[in-house]
Subunit: 290 residues, 2 copies
């Protein structure tokens, strides 16, 4: 049941991602090719799905938020391409294939990331059929969530600071991983014209889901199947990075992932609508193998 | 007279740029420090001034477009930081000081550029006191102008293709240099609620000004004073790049710069308002020494 719903979402999202980032009828454009290579490489699409589910949950029953949802996925892909660059994490593999800069070179990967971030805001601005005040408010929330007080701030901690303790690690996760998931959930609420209370509940859900998600990522990097994950296990260890598993151990991490998932599920209870899809997705992400 | 007007603009623009990219009261943030280093490094601020002048020219008499004007300057600065990176032009100097990546390292310069681009859209979305449809339309125009069919597209040609002839060179200049100047002029018109005819005239002005501007840049790289420019002359030659001077020679370049400047001035004649400041700025840019 849930698999069918998620698959239907993925098909619609990917067909729009494909359209927005189409190679025009002109000569071959390497930057669009590089952007498409990373964008259409089998992601889980959980951020756009979360946006669309919160949009629906706040009473909207149309497809007007699809463009914005795709834009959030484009922002996510830009962040992966730039994260993998040699001057950042220097990762050669992503989702079972060579990273963007390995395939297209560093310069083109830099530009492909820049382009996805830029075009994401162009796609946000193509949110039609809704009051444009909401669109501006959602753009404002998204941009702030992925700037220096959000996702980029997390990246700064990750690359420039030695993460010594649990508090600092979770601060980094909140910025680096949760911020964009939070933007997805909240922009769904904003675009649907939801209440401030719904906005707060969406933030609460996304923060907890993001932490559970990141802890599972850390666990998979230790005991996952590299063929299923699509990159070598132990890469965190190789980079000498502190992770939740390193600082807290595997069993405490499992308990925390369960707890954060539970918190996320609880946050959904404040919505009147049907939360079955979001609940099922939240539980699926806890037991995922990649 | 014109100097006083431009100086007044610069002071107001820089005080806003300073505020939007303030180091918060928290511990030192290297990415904001790196962004400020490049942003508050004595640029001419011609893009925001052009935006504000077209806004005024289309009948608006308030300060509501200042935020958007600052956002355009932030986009310009992001493009300079990423252009200077080793995987792009690999330039060590910018405006008489070490480039951002020389001062802060490659990773932090990458993130500082990403942050300026991201925060620019957050600042655009803080355009208050105007109909929000105009803000969305202007965001859409700006994002498209600096994406793969605009500024980034120019960068792709610059880094991946051998520019063999005049036509290709001017296509690259139109994308790499003119697109953002065009966005500045057009967003001023859009935010003021100008007509389609005014929008077309603004595009025409900016395209011609941008070409004149880029040709003067090429000439300064050959016969300019490196201390005044703030970087070594002959850097285009060092990089083996074709420029207008290489392809067409100095005297033809001077003639073209004059012609494009003349075209830009003519495009202003279709506006009823006072175009004296824009005309004086346009003429100043032709005889500039840096």
């Amino acid at each position: 049941m849930i698999d069918g719903i998620l698959e239907e979402y993925r098909i619609k999202i990917e067909s729009r991602l494909d359209m927005f980032n189409a190679l025009p009828g002109q000569p071959y454009d390497p930057v669009i090719d590089a952007a498409r290579y990373s964008l259409l490489n089998g992601g889980k699409r959980i951020r756009p799905i979360i946006l669309l589910e919160f949009y629906r949950l706040c009473g909207a029953d149309d497809d007007c938020a699809y463009n914005f949802a795709c834009a959030v996925e484009m922002v996510h892909t830009y962040s992966l391409i730039h994260d993998d660059l040699p001057c950042m994490d220097d990762d050669d593999m992503r989702r079972g294939k060579p990273s963007c800069h390995i395939r297209y070179g560093e310069g083109m990967a830099l530009l492909a990331g820049d382009d996805l971030l830029t075009e994401a805001f162009a796609v946000c601005a193509k949110t039609l059929g809704l009051p444009q005040e909401r669109v501006v408010k959602a753009i404002s929330y998204l941009a702030s969530a992925v700037g220096s007080s959000g996702m980029i701030g997390g990246q700064v901690i990750d690359t420039s600071v030695s993460v010594e303790n649990e508090q600092m690690l979770f601060r980094m996760y909140s910025l680096k991983t949760c911020a964009l998931i939070r933007a997805a959930a909240v922009c769904g609420v904003i675009l649907a014209g939801g209440s401030d209370e719904q906005l707060k509940s969406a933030e609460n859900y996304a923060e907890n889901l993001g932490l559970a998600f990141q802890i599972i990522d850390d666990l998979l990097d230790v005991d996952g199947n590299s063929e299923v994950i699509g990159k070598p296990v132990g890469s965190d260890d190789k980079n000498g990075k502190n992770t939740a598993v390193r600082l807290l151990g595997e069993s405490r991490c499992r308990a925390l992932a369960n707890q954060y998932t539970e918190n996320a599920l609880l946050a959904l209870n404040s919505f009147d609508g049907n939360t079955e899809t979001l609940k099922a997705l939240t539980e699926l992400l806890l037991i995922r193998e990649k």
